[in-house]
Subunit: 228 residues, 2 copies
DNA sequence: TAGATTGTTAATCGATTAACAATC
DNA sequence: TAGATTGTTAATCGATTAACAATC
């Protein structure tokens, strides 16, 4: 029952299930099945049932799963049945995009503070009453707002030292947008977002001269696999 | 030898190795070992050697790997020993951030065209002589510039139809930033970037009341695992 | 009831790790 | 040479899938 018993690879799929359920709910579906969900996500129905079974029995034989109930259960399991305040560090293009992103709220998150070390950006007003704080205020603001999660959007060469500052300030989870591996204490959670990693994964399968000259229409219908 | 023999999970790690080698090269290292690389990335040395062995023997017994040579080999294997022109679809905050991002060039990519359906954004000038094209020009421009890769940065409700337009236009790989699962023909590669998925993966391990009041400094030193 | 789908166990499959001969 | 590290094989480990009794 301890969360450490549950394979991390299972945890990684739960947010994807949750996202799919949200889509289903929006399209008005009340009930779904592991078969439907699996087909939609490119995952076997057995895997979905087995993943959910780690946390209990949420379905009904013969019927399937009540979309809204399962959604709530997953939100509870993932601790997103609340709003996590987050810090954005780095107020460049990406930092701005993150600070303005409307999609966090409905899924358990909000940007509560933005930091940058560029004097020109300090005090710059953003949406939602946010302003850009100087890096000197990092520990103070993160402590005052009880922030545990940071999105790191600074240039690659600053990412490592800033990450350690964040840890000092009490941050426990970092979503790192800088294209480097961070070295942090082992109790700090880190996830990486680097578009080039994903692009290079795809170009392995692409061939420069695999030309499609003039466009070759194809019948849609199949489903692509799951994301990392 | 056919690329389909090689597990996709192995392919997914190669860009991470390549990124680490770039970091090593920048810090002036000439030679490295599977042990060093593994320690740095939180991966076993055996796995790194086994992954590389799918493509040949790049190392020297007793010595290790020549950083620059291995870098070049991986670039070749991943087909990033060239510059892939890409389309950005959606010229909002995120689209702008992608169009301005400086990090693509050195790693095999460039933004060659930007599209949006908002008349106010059309013809808006961006960096690098880019302008925002109307969606009507999608097929024409993608064909003329021989673009095979698109980054999809439109609102969630438009992502599915736009993805199919991209496929019609000859796009073969999509990096999808919209928080939905895309349904596309099976020969189209799709990778997903959704920060909320990564955040929810981390909040599973966080506890709201696991307070660190007043900041608890900790000794850095250990390394976090590999991303997806 | 008959049909459908769950939760779960056992079988299979694949990925990771350990170990070591080869060799620089 | 002695020490180090590769490439590779065999052993282990873990994840996925198949199958089905339980039951709605």
């Amino acid at each position: 029952m301890a969360s450490s018993d549950i394979p991390d690879i299972v945890i990684g799929r739960l947010p994807i299930y949750l996202r799919a359920l949200t889509q289903l709910a929006q399209s008005g579906r009340d009930v779904t099945s592991s078969r439907e969900l699996g087909q939609y996500l490119g995952i076997s129905s057995a895997q979905i049932r087995k993943d959910l079974a780690w946390f209990g029995g949420f379905g009904k034989q013969g019927t399937g799963y009540h979309v809204q109930t399962l959604q709530q259960q997953l939100q509870h399991i993932l601790h997103v049945d609340r709003q996590w305040p987050m810090a954005v560090v780095g107020a460049g293009d990406l930092g701005h995009a993150l600070a303005h992103y409307r999609g966090f709220k409905a899924r358990g998150f909000m940007v509560a503070a933005v930091f940058d070390n560029d004097p020109e950006k300090i005090s710059e007003p953003l949406e939602n009453n946010l302003v850009v704080h100087p890096m000197e205020k990092l520990t103070e603001v993160i402590g005052a707002l009880n922030i545990k999660i940071a999105m790191l959007a600074v240039p690659a060469e600053h990412a490592q030292p800033v990450a350690l500052q964040l840890v000092e300030a009490g941050i426990q989870a970092i979503l790192n947008y800088a294209p480097i591996t961070l070295i942090v204490p082992s109790h700090i959670r880190v996830q990486y977002i680097d578009p080039v990693i994903e692009l290079q994964h795809m170009t392995f399968y692409l061939d420069q001269h695999e030309g499609n000259p003039g466009a070759a229409p194809e019948v849609p219908g199949q489903v692509s696999g799951v994301d990392q």
